[in-house]
């Protein structure tokens, strides 16, 4: 369970990204956070695994106070939290399987990890993860030779190899074409349903969010303006979230 308790975040340059946010996310939920660029979506996601620090308030994940974590405690907590980025953040110049294996490194014997030696069970787990996202046959190809969608799947497999209970995804489909974006989103949906992993995803595109998520949180200028089921979202609600009528840019499939 994730609990935001009156969380505020102000960046050193004075930008107030989040203002007094409180919300609760139950295990197994698939939550999409939508809003304009600069609304505070990314900040909200990054606070959960302490990539950035809160200015005020508290975040609790399974009774752990996230702002207090540091050093070894923080690393142990992060083992259970997967992170997927807009720019994939793969290790180029090395094979797909090595990218997935990198997620096993923290649990390994430090001496073996220094020399890049992986056990049979680690390798099997990496291959299983690649199989779950359907790109097993690319395992021994260099990561930078794959297409954008394939790279994002490798990133997803890397996250699965961590065996997480929660996956955070920061604009995972924003740099992909509509068809690939749909495939990646359905990967998320499948992982959420079969592995029972909580998923917290940032989206810019309303239609994809409404199609795949079970709950939508709308953010506008650092404040939550909507929080509820996907089916209850109306045109008016979208107008409050975006502060204006939706444009073509906010929707990936123009015909909708």
């Amino acid at each position: 369970m994730i609990e935001f308790q009156n969380v505020s975040k102000t960046y050193p340059n004075g930008v107030e990204a989040l203002k007094n946010i409180s919300l609760t996310i139950e295990p197994g939920e698939f939550v999409a956070i939508i809003g304009l660029s600069g609304a505070g979506k990314s900040t909200l996601i990054k606070l959960v695994n302490k990539m950035i620090d809160v200015t005020e308030g508290n975040i609790k994940v399974n009774d752990l106070n996230i702002p207090d974590l540091k050093g070894k405690e923080l690393r142990q907590y992060r083992r259970k939290v997967g992170m997927v980025f807009q720019s994939f953040n793969l290790i180029n110049r090395t094979s797909v399987i090595n990218n997935v294996l990198a997620a096993r490194v923290p649990d390994m014997n430090p001496f073996l990890s220094l020399f890049g030696i992986f056990t049979k069970s680690d390798k099997m787990m990496a291959l299983e993860s690649l199989h779950k996202v359907g790109i097993l046959e690319k395992a021994y190809i260099r990561a930078d030779q794959l297409s954008g969608g394939q790279q994002q799947r490798v990133a997803l497999a890397r996250t699965l190899a961590q065996n997480p209970t929660l996956i955070l995804a920061d604009e995972p489909v924003a740099s992909l074409d509509p068809i690939t974006a749909n495939q990646i989103m359905s990967d998320f949906e499948r992982i959420n349903q079969t592995e029972k992993i909580t998923i917290l995803v940032n989206m810019h595109h309303v239609d994809l969010a409404l199609k795949y998520a079970s709950r939508v949180i709308g953010i506008n200028k650092g404040e939550i303006v909507y929080d509820g089921g996907t089916d209850d979202v109306t045109e008016d609600i979208l107008k409050t979230i975006y502060g204006r009528e939706l444009t073509d840019e906010d929707i990936m499939f123009k015909d909708k």
């Binding site: 990539m51 907590y77 992170m83 720019s87 180029n92 990198a102 490194v105 990890s113 990133a155």
Partner: protein, 292 residues
């Protein structure tokens, strides 16, 4: 004096105004856009002034004092030595060259490998992007620049005062020199890498060292090998000088034979070193191309 000052300041003001007009473009509807002032031209002018000043100090000064004809008359002396080397070449001396040459290669290999291995952890400490908000990179860089101040020869000289003479001195000097160059080249590469992968692996709960090993090493390993090979080349060539302070290797006999003016023997030494350097150069060029 006052009028001169005001004249100069007026001149500079006028220059700035002209420059600003030059940087401004007026569009068809009357809007103005000004390109920001670039200091490149100022820096370039300063470098040019310094260059001309030093040129006058050294080159012009030399010709003023000794005359151009002196310079021309002395140039052929260089070729006299070369000529002696060619005419008096003493092939039988080659048997004396083999053992010091092997020493030289050994010094270079051990020195390069040890120096480069020591360089990797220190280069990590010196990289701001890996260490994050910390004073360690700044302090490390400061110490590295002190180490880099001295050339190999000075280290060899210092060590020969402490430990006497021999190949061990050569190895020590080569280790320190290689270390100082490789750390610098390496941290510059590390600071220029794509940080995305590093951040992603840190987010899986890895320590900085683990994330470096998993996400940064694959990005830099090829260039690291290439730096090591390049330093091996440099060290081989430097070995000729190392011998001048009795730090072992081929430089010792080269120094002796030069002092004895046995240019026929020097020719054989130079040729042997040249052949080794050319072989290593080609080999490392081939390897570096394969690696990158």
């Amino acid at each position: 004096m006052k009028t001169l000052c005001s004249k100069i300041s007026n001149f500079i003001k006028d220059l700035i105004k002209r420059n600003q007009r030059y940087r401004t473009s007026e569009l068809s509807d009357g809007t103005n856009i000004t390109r920001p002032f670039s200091y490149a031209i100022v820096i370039f002018s300063l470098v040019l002034i310094v260059f001309i000043y030093f040129w006058n100090m050294i080159i012009t000064d030399f010709f003023n004092r000794f005359g151009f004809s002196f310079f021309v008359s002395r140039v052929p002396n260089f070729f006299t030595i070369i000529q002696k080397m060619v005419v008096q070449v003493n092939w039988s001396y080659f048997s004396n060259v083999v053992s010091p040459l092997v020493d030289t290669i050994q010094i270079s290999i051990i020195g390069t490998l040890v120096g480069s291995l020591l360089a990797l952890p220190v280069a990590i400490l010196a990289s701001q992007n890996i260490m994050g908000k910390s004073y360690i990179p700044g302090i490390t860089k400061f110490f590295l620049s002190i180490i880099r101040t001295f050339p190999t020869l000075v280290y060899a000289l210092i060590f020969s005062f402490i430990f006497g003479y021999g190949t061990f001195i050569g190895v020590l000097a080569t280790v320190i020199f290689t270390f100082s160059i490789v750390t610098k080249m390496l941290y510059e590469i590390i600071e220029a890498i794509d940080m995305g992968a590093f951040i992603a692996i840190e987010a899986t709960g890895a320590t900085k060292l683990q994330a470096f090993r998993a996400a940064v090493m694959p990005q830099i390993i090829g260039r690291y090998y290439s730096i090591i090979l390049y330093n091996f080349e440099i060290n081989l060539r430097a070995s000729a000088i190392l011998g001048f302070v009795n730090a072992g290797g081929i430089g010792i006999i080269m120094n002796d034979q030069m002092a004895l003016q046995k240019y026929g023997n020097v020719a054989v030494i130079v040729l042997a070193l040249l052949i080794v350097v050319i072989i290593v150069q080609n080999l490392s060029q081939y390897l570096r191309r394969r690696l990158s």
